[in-house]
Symmetry: C2
Subunit: 301 residues, 2 copies
Amino acid sequence: MSNKIVVALGGNALGKNPKEQLELVKETAKPIVDLIQEGNNVIVAHGNGPQVGMINLAMPEMPFPECGAMSQGYIGYHLQNAIREEFSNRNMDIPVCTVITQVIVDKDDEAFNNPTKPIGAFYTEKEAKKLEEEKGYDMKEDAGRGYRRVVPSPMPTDIAEKETVKTLVDNGHVVITVGGGGIPVIEDNKSLIGVPAVIDKDFASEKIAEILDADYLIILTAVEKVAINFGMENEELLDTLNVDEAYKYIDEGHFAPGSMLPKVKAAIKFAESKQGRKSLITSLEKASDGIQGKTGTLIIK
Amino acid sequence: MSNKIVVALGGNALGKNPKEQLELVKETAKPIVDLIQEGNNVIVAHGNGPQVGMINLAMPEMPFPECGAMSQGYIGYHLQNAIREEFSNRNMDIPVCTVITQVIVDKDDEAFNNPTKPIGAFYTEKEAKKLEEEKGYDMKEDAGRGYRRVVPSPMPTDIAEKETVKTLVDNGHVVITVGGGGIPVIEDNKSLIGVPAVIDKDFASEKIAEILDADYLIILTAVEKVAINFGMENEELLDTLNVDEAYKYIDEGHFAPGSMLPKVKAAIKFAESKQGRKSLITSLEKASDGIQGKTGTLIIK
């Protein structure tokens, strides 16, 4: 059975430095190629937290959206080669590529009034004040470790390169896109303007999944199934979750902000977006089993 | 008249830092969009010297091919937006994108025995010796300014992402590809392995032009026409150059290595590759006039 699947890779799929990444992506490629070998049409999205952090630290004068563009090139290069190699190992011949992808956000998104995502280096209070004055950065104290710049995390409204991704997917290419949630841009008259922000990669993946009319959004993470009462005695792993239950569990505070919560929210959004669309949250290793209904947490309307 | 044209942008099209680049690409986009508005199918290639140098300086531990991948993301992001904006200004609606592109070189290319391209920072003789011992770098004295790492400049043999570029071009997308001459990779059994090298962007552009069966290779540079006896009293600007004349002028030493020589050689290679293919060397501003036969130096078989 052939499905169109957007796979959102978690941080554990990439590692924290170039050498580690080059090794890890070989493992990451296997479950992706499993899905493709089973006849599915796969689109690959990924995070970029450690990578864009590293670039931003090394190049403090480089604007943040440009750092994101660099991270897409760097990660895409490793990922596309690993997938290509895994195809070759299995005598499969399918083109794979990385599209530099801008994700459009609303300049009036309320997230711009409340920047929350810390990026880059730690500073003293004095240095932080200076950066606020000289560069207009928003600086916040970070868990007793010093001050860091914070940027907003607005919601994606559209994908600038959607026609390119569509064309490639329709022609059977494996496309790596919306890396790191995409380069965040706002529409300003006839221009797209890069803005310092971090778009959640699960929401960006959800957006491209909607645009491509995918059947599945698979969000890969460190755990095999979503849990309620996580880490407690009455912890319960969920096989299936309908959106009504999901909203209830969110209200009850079962999912950690910045961790499982955005994944569940993105999963709900996709399941609600059209009849028949399904989301799956599972681990990288279990992606193929998950799509066959053997494990993972399926989120349905 | 509609032609398929690969445009290779020179260093003057991009500038040396992010702010300058963001401004310059707006000017660069205009002649590109002129060609497209006249009905041509355009593929955009570009150099990355200052950009990859900057990234390599800021991140000395990052392998050089990865730095190249980053520069493709960074430059592509600016270029695709500038072209998009210029389309919008003219009420044209054509998708534009950047494909992270690996260019395959032969691991037995003799260039690997004679690295010539300086990259990154300057070092003292003592530091250079240490880098040679510890990292296996080739270090060479650079014009009295200190020691720099040198990498080979092998010839491109194939483009790893050619199917992706072809599919997009066939579907009318404007594709930015082989940025900086491409990420240099060698084929090793079933893998592509990144190698520290710099592929000449004019030769990489020539290669993709052949693969796409382009009609024209346009190499844009700082001058409107190729000259013989350049800078001398008997300087002569050339309107047309057939490959026999071109070889003669090369033998006579009319073209500077690392400057006009590789451009003329890439132009010859394309003109010789198939009946009817033409190369044009001119300035960015004159690209449209050149394709209409009004200026530039046309290289034909």
